[in-house]
Structures are given as C-alpha cells and as structure tokens.
Amino acid sequence: MTEHDDLQALDKAIKERIAKGENRCEQSADEKLAAAFSSLRQETANQGAKINIASQVTARVQRRRGILVPMRRWIPVAAAAMAVLFFGQQALWAKNIKIHAPGGAQIWTDGGWESVKGDLQVDTPLRLRSDRDPVSISAPEWSGSIASRSVVGIANEKALDLERGQIRINTESPISLELGAIRATVQGDMGVGSNGEIAMTNKVRAMTAGIGVVAIVAIYSGYVVFSGEAKSMRIDAPAGAIVDASGEVKRTDLGSAEGQLAGSRSEPKGVGRLVGLTKAVAEMEEGPTGGFWDEDAQTVRFSLGGEVFDAQTGVPIEDFDVDLSGLAVRSFDAPQDRSVHIADAKDGQFRLSGLGLGRWSLLVRADGYAPSRQEVTLDAVTADPYLVVPLSQGGRVSGTVTDWKGKGLQDATVILGDCNGKGKERCPTAKTDAKGTFILVGAPEERPFSIQAHHPRYGFADHHNLQLGEGETKHVTIQLSGILKVMGYVYQGKDKKPVVGTEVRGEEQSTRTDEGGYYEMLIPLARHPEVQVVTGTQTHPVRFGSYPKNRSVEPIQWVEADTHVAELQKDFLLAQESAVLTGRISYANNTPAAETKVEISNHMGWAQREHETFPEQTVTDADGTYRIEGIPAHAGYILRVIQGDEKRKLGTVVIDEPREVVADFTIGGGTIRGQFVDSQSGESFPLSQDSCGRFGAMSQKDDAIYWARCLDDGSFEFRDMAVGAYRLGLIGPEKLRVDAQFEEQVVELTGSMLDGLEISVKGDKTATWTARITNESGRFVPGVMLRYHYSLGGSRTSSMDQADDGTVKFTITTDQTQVYFDAPGYVSAELDLSNRDPSVVIDVKLSLAKKR
C-alpha cells in the first residue's frame, strides 16, 4: 500500500467514525485520531448550539433603518460641562462596585471573562457583562442595571479627580440608570457623566434624562455632544431631521433648522432632541476652552488657555515659551511632551489645544523672568482650565567660576538648571567677565534650583540645591575641574631616535618637544582628547584611545582630588622618515628612456604610513633619470612606465631606510628563466600562488627588485631585466609566512636571456587547478581574482591569467580546499576543492551582484 492510499484510508476512517458519532478510543493511533475528530466535532457543535443571536441581529438590523450619519463636528461646550470621557474598550476603573446578578454575569478580569452569580462587591478594573437576566449594579453615588448581553465599564479613578463615578455603556438593549437625580434610559455605546452632562459617541441610539435637561436622540455612527452651557446649536439636515428644543418638535424635511439650546449649569433648561433620518450635521458654538472631539484621533482632546504677565507690574508678557510635560495623561495617543514658543501673545494670552486627558505640568519661561511651573488637570469636571501665570523677575545669583587652582575663568557660561530640552536659550544665562564673576538674574524664588557652569576648555560643573527667599541674592563659587595633562615622547625610526623641537598641538595651544623628545601640556578634559604631532606640513594624530591597551581612555576617572588634573601619557613614534628614490630608465640597447612618464604606486607599507598620495607620477629627464624626494621609507613600491595608453611594469623597490635609494630599470630588457625542483625528489615543483608572490630577483648593484612569473609546470620567468647580477630568493621580511623555502642563488644576466636555472624548493605539496570561470550566460568575466585563506590566518588575493574562454590555472598548496573567485559586479563564488580531481576542468558560474 502506498503512503497515499494509506492516508486516504485514514481520511475514510475519520469520516466513518464521525458519521457513526463514536468517540471511543481504540488501540491504533489512526483509530484514536478518528475518535478524537468525532469528539471534537461533537463538542464544538454543542457549544455552537448555545449561541442564539437571532433577536440581537434583528434588533440591530431594525435599528439600522434610517441610518443617520454624522454630525460633522462635535464641538463645543464649555470645558466645565464636560463630564464625559471616552475610554478604550478595556481599561476602566472603579471602587466599591456592588453587583447583584441573580441570573449570572461575567466580569472581565485579566485577559478573560469570569462567570459570577449572585451578590458580590468588586474593585477596579471592571467590565461587566450580563448573561441572561438583567444585572443591577451600584457604586457610591449611582446605581443602574444592565440588560441581557450588555457590557458596562465603570470608571472612578482618583487621577481624574472625579468625586462620582463615570460609566461607559455598550449595550444592545436599553438600560435604565439612576445617576444622582438623573434617571436615564440609554441604549447604544456612550459615556454618561455623573453630573448629568452627557456626550455620546457613535452608535448612540436613544437617550433621555429625567429632569428634562437633556434629551438627544441620535444617531447610529454619529455623535452629539450636549451641554448645559452650549449657547446655540445649528442643525443642518438636508434630508430631514427632527429637532426637539424646549419640548417642541420641529420637523425639517429639507434644508436646515436652528434650535436654541440655551441654559447654564445652574439653571438647566436647554433641551435638544435630534432624530436624523439620513444625514444630519450639527454645529455648536465653541466655548472658551474645553474638550473637543478629534476626528483624526477618534478621542477627546482638551484645550487649555491662560495668560502670562509680569508679577510686579501686571503688564502682559507677549513673548514666552511654554513647556508641557504630561504627568499622568490618559489619552492613548496624545503627545506627551512638547514645547511651544509664543510670540506676540495678545494681552499675554495663550491657548494650547490637542491635549490629552490627565495631569500636565507647564513650565512658562520668558526673557528676564524666573521660570514658573504649574500643574493642571484636564478632565471633565475641572472648571474652565484657564491658567493665570504671573512671572516674577526672580532672584539673583552672583558668583565666580574658577579653574581648579581657584583662578577666575573668563567666558564661562552660567545657566539656570531646570531648563533642559528645547528653548534652552530662554533659560536665564550669564557669562563670566575677565575675573570670572557673573550675575544670573531670573532665578526662581522660594523653591530649590540648580545652576550649571560651562567653559569650553575647563569642562562643566553643577551647583545644586540653591534656594532664594524673596528678593534675596546669593553668592556662589563654581570650580571647574576638567583639565587633562598629556605627556609623552616623540620618536622617529626603528631605533627610536628622539625627535627634538617638533610641534605638538593640543586644543587651542601647542608646545614643542625638548631635546629628549619629551612633551607635556594641559588640555581640556575630554573623552577623546585631541593632540597632534606636526612634522613639516603633516599632522599626525596621537590616538590615546589605544593607550593603555587594557583601559580605554576615560581620563575623567583618573582625576586626582587635590590637583584636579588627569594625566595621560602617550609616546609617539613618527611613522615614516622620508627617503629619496631615484634611478635610470633605459631601453635594452642602453639608450635612455627620456621624457618618459613613471608611475609609482605603493604596495607594501611595513611602516604603516597612510599613502594617500599614491600612485604618484614623475617624468624622466633627457638622461632617463627619475627622482622622487620625500617618499616615505619603510615601504615597498611598484614602478611602471606609461607610454601612450600602455602601462608597463618595470619592477619594484623596497625602501627600508630613510636614504637615497637607487633603482635602474630597463624597458624590454632581458629574461631569466628556470625551474623549481623539489629538494628531495628532484622533480619539478610548481610553486603556489602565495610562494610565487614572494620569490624575486634582487639587483646586486642597486635596489631594484623583480618579481617572478610562475607557471604551472614548475618553471619561472623574470622579464624586462637590466643587465647585471641578481640574487634570486625570498623577498620581503622573513617573518611574513610563506609556504615554501627556496634555495638562494646569485646569477648574472649578461645578454638578453639566461635560461636553465634550477631552484631547489622545500615546501608543502601543491596542486594546479584549472577552472573555467564565466557568467551565468557563459560569457567571459573580466578581472577575476583568486582568494583563499592562509592556513595560519589571513587571506590572500591574487590575479590570474584568464584565457578568452575564461579558463584560468592556479597553483596552491594541497591543504587549501576552499577558494573564492571575486570579480567586480559579481557575487563571490565559493569553490570547495576537496574530493576534486585537479585534472578535471572545474566550471564556475558567477552570478551578477544585485543592485541595491
């Protein structure tokens, strides 16, 4: 039986088991599975059968008839009248809620509904949902009942400063509520304030209040706000609406009608009743401040007004900053903190809007005055949140800013603390004079504050816990402690010869090394001190970051208490002395290569100097002589001649010492050829790419060096060589690893060719590989480089001779099994050589790198 048939059998078994309705567990796993399906099916069917939604759905459908949408603007009302807040679906608070649920109810607790029955008392948070029968609930100051399958959330959070409860209702069927003197029947999704002010959010179906204050009937998915202090209400209902003001019902079929909603909190008489048939728009006159419905944010926002004036004269201040920070802001997405600059405030008045419900802290600042901080709570019952902000010119702090020796510091800045963030420029500030003294005006009175002194070279310091009585002036001294003493020696060259009299620059100052090469100076304490050694036109940064190696520079930690000086020593080895490179370039027939361009590029930098200027070019004189002065020593260079478009490599030179280095080269010179042989077996020994790169011919008469070209049959070749004696062998420092050792030989090239040399080699066994490297469409890819890792670490990249069809040969030691081919514009290809036969051509496809 195939597995497919097998599963079909299982499918059949499950179906049969379900048809029989059995869920007994048999022995086999398939049987058990089939039984489980039968059981699960039965269980969910039983639960599903309990769901009966027909009456609710029908009720909702009927209510949707004559949908009335939306009041375009929900405005207005004086803030004092706002008693209603909108909450999210879940987070509500309550205290001492009594619940009487004879028929059972559910209470939302952390993450789930919990079934309850009978009488119980609960605290915050509460969401209550009746099961079948109505549930009555009561809390201090109010009571109510909820109908079947309704949800009620109750809030009475202290942070809102509400004495009485608030309630949010989302109900499918009508709920009767008693809120103090107000009795209401509500249905839909709304909030009801304890004082009788009512706002409704979407889905409000109907609402009436017992004492005739409020009656608004609206609107599925619209909202209406009503307040005893709203002065007027205009209703624009192009397709008709019913307006009931002062008990009278007007009907408008088309156009708009106006209903007066007069009244005040103390003498409530305004009544608004609105039944929209298809679409109605209501606008109300905006009160001075208060909450409003933010359409975008779908939440209530508050605005806050106030005025700022001089505490002494009473004159309004027209230019000031208000920093707002939320202390306990309830709205979910209200911006918490912000800074507002107010210029040209008429009569010193300001108005900020878009604030979330909750507690806010305001810091008002104006030039020449002490900042004033106030707290304000924005909520439903706080009367008109209008802030009166008198600013006093404040107290004075005078004082001196000194360095660690107690000497007064000029141009230090003193700033009043408490002024972080934006608008800092408005904080009271002062600058020190030549003696280091300052007078700071506008410090707060009767409350603690701090000041901060700052100097670009001496760091900064705080003075905390200052407090001034009214009209008091205090004198303080602030000492800046941040000085760093840096010192060290400047050396040059391998033998560390002291560099005498060279300039060492620190921030805003400099010094020179003494006869021992020693420097020291004081600079501002900084995390990354900047010191440079200057030689001629070049500056060399002294990097403290690496010294001492096991401690990254945190000089601030090292401050000695009595001197307030941190010390940091750094010796500096001048990386490079300059040398002169010169030589003669001639043709094979010994005629000088006059007026020929020579390009010098750096390829080895043992002294680790940055060779930003290379490659450089020079031109030979009539005698074929080139000369480059000031070339960095301890580095290797490649020389090429440029004739027309053609660049031709001449050879290389290593400048080991700051001296005059001479290297003559011949264009089209002679050739030296030979063969590498294994020192033990005598067989030919193809040199690896790596080792070949270190095998060279060093001229015995000057400093010219030639690199060999190694072939896969174990032969090598030097070209374009001047006539003369050469030492063949390892070039470059011996400490650099190489995987083969060559026997050294001294040979002399007398004519155009020296052939038949044998160089004995002792080294790791090598293999020569052939690969055909093309792109995905089989075309030639230019500039492919071979890359592999040294077994002792590091990696090597070398170029290869590519045939027209992309075939390359490369020789590496047999311990190399992983190689990479890199080409510009292509993704590197990795090639695993283990288990491959070197005699088989390897096909390598490079895929194009994706453009970013």
């Binding site: 597995e3 497919h4 599963l7 299982l10 499918d11 499950i14 179906k15 379900i18 869920n23 007994r24 567990c25 796993a29 398939d30 058990k32 599975l33 039984a35 489980a36 399906f37 059981s39 699960l40 099916r41 039965q42 269980e43 969910t44 069917a45 639960q47 599903g48 059968a49 309990k50 769901i51 009966n52 939604i53 027909a54 009456s55 609710q56 759905v57 029908t58 909702r60 459908v61 009927q62 949707r64 509904w113």
Partner: protein, 174 residues
C-alpha cells in the same frame, strides 16, 4: 430538510431580499447554529464566535440586494464567515484556529481529553493545513466545497489535506 421547510425558506429568502426583518429573522434562526459553530471552530472562543456570527448576518442583510439565488445560501454565509474569522484572527494577531484555552473549563472525560489533544495538534499545524482539516472533518465539507470556499485549486486542497493528515498522524504516532 423537508420540502415544507425548504419552501418556507425560499419564501423567507424572497421576503428578506425585499427588506422584511421578520423573514430575515427566520433566515438567521435557520442558519445561525451552523455559522456559529463554524466560527467557533475557527476562532475558538464562544464570545468571538457570537460576535462574528452577528457580523455575518448583518453583512448578509446589507448585501441582500447583491445576493443572487445561485448556489447554496449556506456556502455564501460560510464564505462571509470565513473572511470574518480570518479578519478577526488577524486583528487578534493570532492565526491560530481552535485555541487550546478553549478547554479550560471543560470536564475531562476521556473523549473530551481526546478532543483536547486533537485541538492541540491542530493548533500546531500551519494555518492552511489546520483550516482544511476543520472544514473537512468538523464542517463535513467535501473537497470540492473546500476548494470553492477557500478559493484554492482542488489539487492544492487535496495536497494540503494529505500533508495535514500526514503531520497529524506523525504527531499521534509518537
């Protein structure tokens, strides 16, 4: 379904297309259990299933004029229900049908334990697989119906069922 009730449903269908709430109520009463069970199996919570079922019928009401008497009404409702359930799960950021929490309060008889184990197993499957299992064995739909409902080719449904069973069986044999 008897001929009588079928006729009555047809009449109700006509009435409800005219916008008669009573006819609509009859349609709801007739289909509510199967849709509620369907939703319950998808989302695993009776509360959510109840809400979703309401949404399904409200959608039917809104779309009544666009609904043509073509194919089974139940398929139409199931399609809406499936979309609603998927949207709900997405909103809840749970693409997990048959949540294991469902069995918190259930008594644990042998067969219920079996059902719970299966729910856990299905819960671990990828949603596509789980869905096809639910539709096939809990909703009792044939493969063609599943293909239509999920708007997938029949072959895909078959292979999903195949692989779902395979995984389930591996689970249960261990």
């Amino acid at each position: 379904m008897t001929v009588d009730s079928s006729d009555r449903l047809d009449a109700a269908m006509d009435g409800f297309k005219q916008g008669d709430p009573d006819c609509f109520q009859e349609m709801v009463e007739h289909h509510q259990q199967s849709i509620a069970t369907f939703c319950l199996r998808y989302v695993g919570s009776a509360d959510a299933a109840c809400d979703l079922t309401q949404e399904v019928f409200l959608t039917l009401w809104r779309e009544r004029k666009r609904y043509r008497h073509r194919g089974k009404l139940k398929s139409f409702l199931l399609t809406i229900a499936r979309n609603r359930c998927l949207a709900h799960l997405k909103r809840e950021r749970k693409v997990v049908p048959l949540r294991p929490e469902m069995d918190r309060r259930t008594a644990e008889s042998d067969s219920e334990l079996l059902g719970r184990d299966l729910r856990h197993s299905i819960h671990r499957l990828q949603p596509d697989f789980a869905e096809v299992l639910i539709l096939r064995y809990l909703e009792d739909m044939d493969l063609q119906e599943i293909a239509e409902l999920t708007e997938q080719p029949l072959g895909t449904v078959k292979s999903r069922l195949h692989r779902a069973l395979e995984q389930l069986r591996r689970d249960w044999h261990d």
